[in-house]
């Protein structure tokens, strides 16, 4: 009813302790193995734009007589994820058939791991320090990880004749890992943080693109309040949908509980997110009986112990460990900057976080050699993460290209110029942009290493260590003549408007193109205007 809808929306209030949220997630992650799970068909990364039913073997569309053969790369990827999560890998796991009839499930069953999954247990640690949650630490437990095959994709259409579904089986038999968490989430921030962290992890391990929007990662939510029955939420295409669906469902249930109308909360239910509300899809009476059975055609996955130790040797350092290293000496990055070097958004074609981090660390090392004990940790951070990256984005130059003319040792030389105040920060920005702009205009073909000395000479970018007193005097008098009047000067001299001095200093620095320092201008303006304060 409209009244109830209004009542629900008026409860915009945050989560209340007397209505305790209990929440778990089920995440399906498509693995970007080269081939599909039980056939060697292409596992296309661009399946959304490929012709329908283009990447389909006889097995993928379940032609009679075909048989599955396991793609071992899926085992490697599942092992990597299990190790990263600290899960217990089962030396023997098996595939089982989950039977249901659907247009996009050509076999009539889905191959999954029901009785003996690939791995059990494990966790992801969230912390206030790294993850924007309220608690100082929060552990989200993992129940299990199982390998399974994806279904095809259905496109629902209506014509004047009939309601038909168009089925594309390019996605049929793509390998998935289903991860089921414990119901450990008690607030929305934890859910958001977990999804971001897990997404970054699968990208970091190079096992999945982690994209929610393309369906490479799909999240279902299991939610209950005050120990009432669990509600499963589906059809959640992105992070904001997940968050909004949880908020909506929480408010809906709080409303029911607070008026004592809890009959519908006594039995588990499945609800779908419409974009603005949740609607009932299934309840206990219509829960599907999947008639699980071991797949008679697939042997067990039977792992020797050296698979675990061998794959462990392939593992990269994990994101949290990298973040912590970057945030302490000698790098001392802020959390925000550490995330730029560690979190892969997959949205930037100009660089990926690994290449950027590698560039930063290499340059830092080279710069430390040049600057010795007096090196300033802020310099590489500011200039690479902010200035350099900003220029690359502005000019649309891929990092891999820019590295060819500004490899770490050369960039370290540039930083040395700044460190030793051969050039000022303002001059440095102009110099860096000029170098990159010229490179871009050559279509990234001119690979000559820039000669900083020549460029500094050519554009007169030297910092003025010994300021010419007469030049400074003339500059200051010009600024005063152009930008002030009697009132301005009176307010400044009397101290009524001290901040005006900053304006004059800014104008002076602009006129000198940053070559003369602010404190030099300050002294001179005070002298000329006979300022006593």
């Amino acid at each position: 009813s409209l009244a109830r809808t209004k009542a629900i929306h008026s409860h915009g209030a945050p989560f209340r302790p007397e209505y305790a949220l209990k929440c778990g997630l089920e995440i399906h992650t498509q693995l970007n193995t080269k081939n599909k799970l039980f056939s060697q068909s292409t596992n296309s990364a661009t399946s959304l734009v490929d012709a329908p039913n283009h990447h389909t073997s006889y097995y993928d569309i379940a032609l009679p007589g075909t048989q599955p053969v396991l793609n071992l790369e899926a085992i490697l990827f599942a092992m990597k994820l299990s190790l990263a999560l600290g899960s217990q890998v089962n030396s023997i796991s098996q595939f089982d058939r989950k039977h249901y009839f659907y247009g996009d499930q050509p076999q009539g069953y889905q191959l999954t791991q029901h009785y003996r999954p690939f791995a059990r247990g494990g966790k992801i640690n969230l912390s206030k320090e790294l993850d924007d949650i309220d608690e100082s630490a929060k552990e989200i437990g993992i129940l299990q990880l199982q390998i399974e095959q994806d279904t095809g994709k259905s496109h629902y259409t209506e014509t004047d004749k009939d309601v038909i579904t168009l089925v594309d089986l390019n996605r049929s038999n793509v390998p998935l890992i289903e991860l089921v968490t414990k119901p450990d989430f008690s607030d929305i921030k934890q859910v958001r943080a977990f999804i971001k962290k897990y997404q970054n992890l699968v990208r970091h391990l190079h096992i999945s693109s982690g994209d929610l929007e393309t369906g490479a990662m799909r999240v279902d939510v299991n939610l209950s309040i005050n120990e009432y029955a669990r509600v499963e939420l589906k059809n959640l295409p992105n992070t904001s949908s997940i968050i909004n669906a949880i908020k909506y469902e929480y408010q809906r249930q709080v409303e029911l509980i607070s008026v004592g109308d809890t009959s519908s909360l006594m039995e588990p239910e499945t609800r779908g997110w419409t974009g603005s509300s949740t609607v009932k899809l299934r309840s206990k009476e219509t829960t599907i009986d999947y008639r699980y059975m071991p797949d008679p055609e697939l042997p067990y996955i039977n792992l020797a112990p050296d698979v675990i130790s061998g794959v462990r040797g392939l593992m990269p350092q994990l994101p949290d460990d990298i973040m912590r290293i970057l945030m302490k000496k000698p790098y001392q990055l802020s959390l925000k900057d550490a995330k730029i070097l560690t979190y892969n958004s997959n949205q930037n074609d100009m660089y990926n976080h690994e290449a950027l981090r590698s560039y930063y660390l290499d340059t830092f090392r080279e710069f430390s050699k040049l600057a010795g004990e007096r090196s300033n940790a802020k310099l590489p951070t500011n200039w690479i993460i902010h200035e350099f990256l900003g220029d690359l984005n502005k000019l649309q130059i891929p990092l891999a290209k820019a590295k060819e003319i500004l490899p770490p040792p050369v960039f370290a030389q540039f930083l040395k110029l700044l460190h030793e105040e051969v050039i000022s920060a303002t001059s440095g920005k102009m110099l860096l942009f000029h170098i990159l702009e010229n490179f871009e205009q050559s279509n990234c073909q001119d690979l000559s290493i820039p000669d900083f000395s020549k460029l500094i000479e050519k554009f007169e970018l030297h910092a003025i260590n010994q300021v010419d007193p007469q030049e400074l005097m003339d500059l200051c008098n010009d600024v005063i003549a152009q930008h002030t009047d009697d009132t301005f000067i009176r307010n400044l001299v009397t101290g009524k408007k001290k901040s005006s001095l900053k304006f004059l200093i800014g104008q002076g620095m602009r006129r000198s193109q940053g070559r003369i320092k602010a404190n030099e201008f300050e002294k001179k303006f005070k002298e000329i205007l006979n300022i006593q304060w």
């Binding site: 283009h54 990447h55 006889y58 790369e73 009785y115 579904t165 089986l169 071991p294 042997p299 067990y300």
Partner: protein
Amino acid sequence: VSTGGAKIGKKFENMNQIRDYLSRPVWSVHEYLGINTKEEKLEPPSAEAVKKLLRLSGLPLEGADIKEIQMRLAKQLSFINKLHNIPVEGEKHTKEYDARLVQRNTKQLNYTKLLEGISHQKQDAELGEVSGSWKATGLAAESKNAYFVVKEGLLKNRK
């Protein structure tokens, strides 16, 4: 009782011959249940259970002969119960989920074989594994713009 050895029969000439062959029963439940089994002793599943099974199987309820299905299932269940009661003392215990056609004791996969298996993968065009090497919808009774077509009827009974 032996059904006789397999033999090569005459070649089928048309679809009707295949239909005739497949529709001729070659064994009977009674053959295994024994002559004394009476239909009155069978415990048929409920009509509701039959309807649920039809829904789960994606089969239409409309026009279904519920009573006939009940009796048929009752016979099959009775047969399965007979199988369950076959004495197996002395047989090594096997968990039900170990029942499969392939051998149970599989060779262990070690790290070397894992990496070798991954690097030696290749696509077999004879299995349709090469993209675009065959037209997947070419065998379908109905398709549209390279999609398979599923009529509403198959989805109607899903909830």
